[in-house]
Amino acid sequence: MSEFIDILLTAGFWAATIRIVSPLIFGTLGELICERAGVLNLGIEGIMTVGAMSGWMWVYQGGDLWTGVLFAACVGAIFGLLHAVFTVHLCLSQHVTGIGITLFASSLSYFVYRMLLPDATTPPKIVPFKPIAVPWLSDLPIIGEALFTQSALTYLALAAVPMVWYVLFRTPVGLAVRMSGENPVAVEAQGINVLAVRTGAVMVGSAFMAVGGAFITMSWFDAFYFGMINGRGWICVALVIFASWQPGKALLGALLFAGLEAIQVRAQQSAGAFIPYQFFLALPYVMSILAMIVMARKTRYPQALLVPFRRGERV
């Protein structure tokens, strides 16, 4: 037990947590925006993969880091558009389309990577985002290193939480998005184009997901590996439910998961001798399931989630 407390007191643990949480924040916010508009986006796993690959590839081909992030976001938005065409405009199953997008986007990422770099045996590296130490604040004990010595993309992720909250809950466009997820007929009756709102939300949400993927190859690591997203997209889908579709709670849930992830890595090192490491690997997922069971019982789903809207149809 005391070993766990020791872990919790090290700055390295907190720094790792914040690093792990960044892509989860982007992905969860992205999924949250889509679902608030009434569209489940299970393309998230693939869109994060394609974001990771395209952002990294942009920089590897000589582009600069920030335009790389922007490029990843654009690629993500295009896959979001694809998802929206099938689910919003053609009203196809959001589950099936999402899984299809995931398979398509990840396979395409690996294919493009292999095509552009056929000879690479060890994954080539780029120069990733560097940690920025915030003056004064970074000198604080523990939090200084954990919170204020991170890369620019992490700061962006943390800033995105209140921004997304503000847009969703304090602006007219946010109201239109939320209303599309609750009762699209009401949106239509007020003269707003539901299909456009939903398409826009899915594209913006997918751009967030792609940036989450790009964080992994451009800030956390410096190379692109196969299978690198490793289920993080699915975790984001679960986190959205855990968070009851609230950005603030999403941050909380992501932090919880990231903390568990950081603990398990350290626990593996200290207790790995007598407990098989697979146990620790599974720990964050077991804990997330338990947390979901507690939290998700009283959640209020967006009422029009998964419900396609067909204009001018006889009801």
Partner: protein
């Protein structure tokens, strides 16, 4: 009225496939008047309004607002032209606040903040001007149906509507709430707005309108001044022929058939039952009045075997009801006419004969060796039922979803009544049907009563209950009043009870046992 009408339909025609929903409709609406649009279900009233509001595009014809053509198929331009619509099915988001529901779409989508203070001020002014009292910060899910309707009206007025369309606005209201709505409409027209009031209820239309346009099979068959209109004349115009609904003849009730004692379900919602007592005898129709969602559905679910988590007893012909076992309940002599034909009455994608045998798949008549369906004899039986109950269709092999509402209901009647049940649960049996079908269904129920069945009739239409029941009870918030002989309570009394103001038949001063 020589002024330019505020709204004019010119030769509007709309077809859905082979069905002509609106046939060359021409209409005018003037400032400050209430025009009633009268017609049966399926006459094309809602379609016409959906064209006006841009939900559908007309195939022919045009609509003019203040003498200018309204661009077709655009909700936005209809709103901009000053048209506000209160839909039959409310278009509100339950999980959002009243204010959010009202302000959606009134500001540029790209502005970075909402001017809530200004919106509140404007809304507060309208609430006091028109007497449309509702809390702007309440969640829509917390509101009563009457309040939701007020939100819908406010939504239209907030956008400066000058023409207000109300589609079947009283369908979900108690008589008192309806009166209140009519008063609101009066104050709205006094401020210079024009109203189109859609309904199939004659007495309302006569009470609220200045002029009446009658729609039948998509076409206008007459436009009359309300002051000189007669109820019978309107009914005949609407239906196309004289239709007399059947009335009850006096029969002495027989033995006890259904006895419900102290029936309660757990939970606190308005749909949970609280100590319900009810008895039904042979040759008796007992009505349950009430606004939808006050527990009628729960009671019906229990009696038809769809719910078994209750306390109290239900006895049918002296035997305990086989709770939660629909097949046993049907076998013990219960005929069920469910509230929602499409959701629970039939499997729309299956054939008519399949739906007809679905309640007694294992009977020897249609089943061989206990598990093989005998298609030939099942079809033969279906043919007989189709003929007896006058289901208009191509035959037993036709798809059920192709049936009209009335014919689908006849199919359900055929299935429910063929086994001569001793107890019939009829939940909203005529909802959404045209006059001819209504008369048919009611006659069948009376026929069953004559034969000796006990019938529980759940309805939101007080006129229907008044005409058809021997005794009547009122349900409100899961509490059922005593079932007094029909006519012992006035419509106004029943209305008050529907709104939860206690059972005046049981206690004085309108205070009921559970403390209202």
């Amino acid at each position: 009225m020589s002024k330019t009408p505020v709204l004019e339909f010119r030769g509007v025609t709309k077809r859905f496939g082979t069905l002509t929903a609106n046939d060359n409709v021409s209409l005018t609406l003037h400032q400050g008047e209430v025009l009633a649009l009268l017609g049966e279900n399926g006459a094309g009233k809602t379609t016409l309004m959906n064209i006006l509001f841009g939900h559908y595009q007309a195939d022919e014809g045009e609509i003019l607002v203040d003498g200018e053509t309204l661009p077709p198929g655009s909700t936005q331009s209809a709103i901009n032209a000053g048209i506000g619509m209160v839909h039959q099915h409310f278009t509100l988001a339950d999980n959002l606040s009243v204010l959010e529901n009202i302000t959606l779409g009134t500001e540029s989508l790209w502005s970075l903040r909402q001017d809530q203070a200004k919106a509140r001020e404007k809304l507060a002014a309208m609430i006091s001007d028109y007497g449309l009292v509702v809390d702007p910060d309440a969640q829509v899910s917390e509101l009563s149906v009457g309040e939701r309707q007020r939100v819908e009206i406010l939504k239209a007025l907030y956008r400066d509507a000058r023409i207000l369309i109300l589609d079947e606005p009283t369908a979900v209201l108690t008589p008192q709430e309806a009166e209140r709505l009519f008063a609101t409409l009066k104050s709205i027209t006094e401020k210079g707005l024009a109203i189109i009031f859609i309904s199939h209820k004659l007495h309302e239309i006569l009470a609220v309108s200045n002029r009446i346009a009658v729609l039948r099979r998509g076409a206008i068959v007459g436009t009359l001044e309300t002051a000189v209109s007669k109820r019978e004349q309107l009914a005949e115009l609407m239906v196309g022929r004289m239709v007399t609904r059947p009335r009850l003849s006096a029969i002495e009730p027989g033995e006890l058939v259904l006895e419900v004692r102290d029936l309660s379900t757990s939970g606190t919602g308005a749909t949970e039952l609280k100590q319900v007592d009810l008895t039904l005898h042979q040759h008796e129709i007992v009505g349950i009045a009430g606004v939808a969602g006050n527990g009628q559905g729960t009671l019906a679910d229990i009696l038809s075997g769809l719910r078994k988590d209750f306390s109290g007893t239900v006895q049918l012909n002296g035997q305990m009801l086989k709770a939660g076992n629909p097949r046993a309940i049907v076998a013990s002599g219960v005929g069920r006419i469910p509230e929602d034909r499409h959701a629970r009455g039939v499997v729309a994608d299956m054939d008519i004969w399949e739906n007809l045998i679905s309640e007694d798949i294992r009977s020897d008549e249609v089943c061989r060796a206990g598990f093989i369906i005998d298609g030939t004899s099942a079809r033969a039986r279906a043919e007989k039922q189709i003929e007896k109950f006058d289901v208009r269709c191509k035959g037993p092999d036709a798809e059920t979803k192709l049936l009209s509402g009335g014919n689908m209901q006849k199919l359900i009647l055929a299935r429910a009544l063929s086994n001569t049940p001793s107890f019939i649960l009829a939940n909203q049996p005529v909802r959404g049907l045209d006059e001819g079908a209504i008369a048919y269904v009611q006659e069948q129920l009376l026929e069953a009563r004559k034969r000796g069945a006990a019938i529980l009739l759940v309805s939101e239409d007080l006129d229907e209950l008044m005409a058809l029941t021997d005794r009547m009870a009122v349900m409100s918030h899961g509490t059922l009043s005593s079932a007094l002989p029909t006519g012992d309570r006035t419509i106004a009394e029943i209305g008050l009870m529907m709104a939860g103001h206690g059972d005046q038949g049981q206690s004085n001063m309108g205070i009921s046992a559970n403390g209202h």
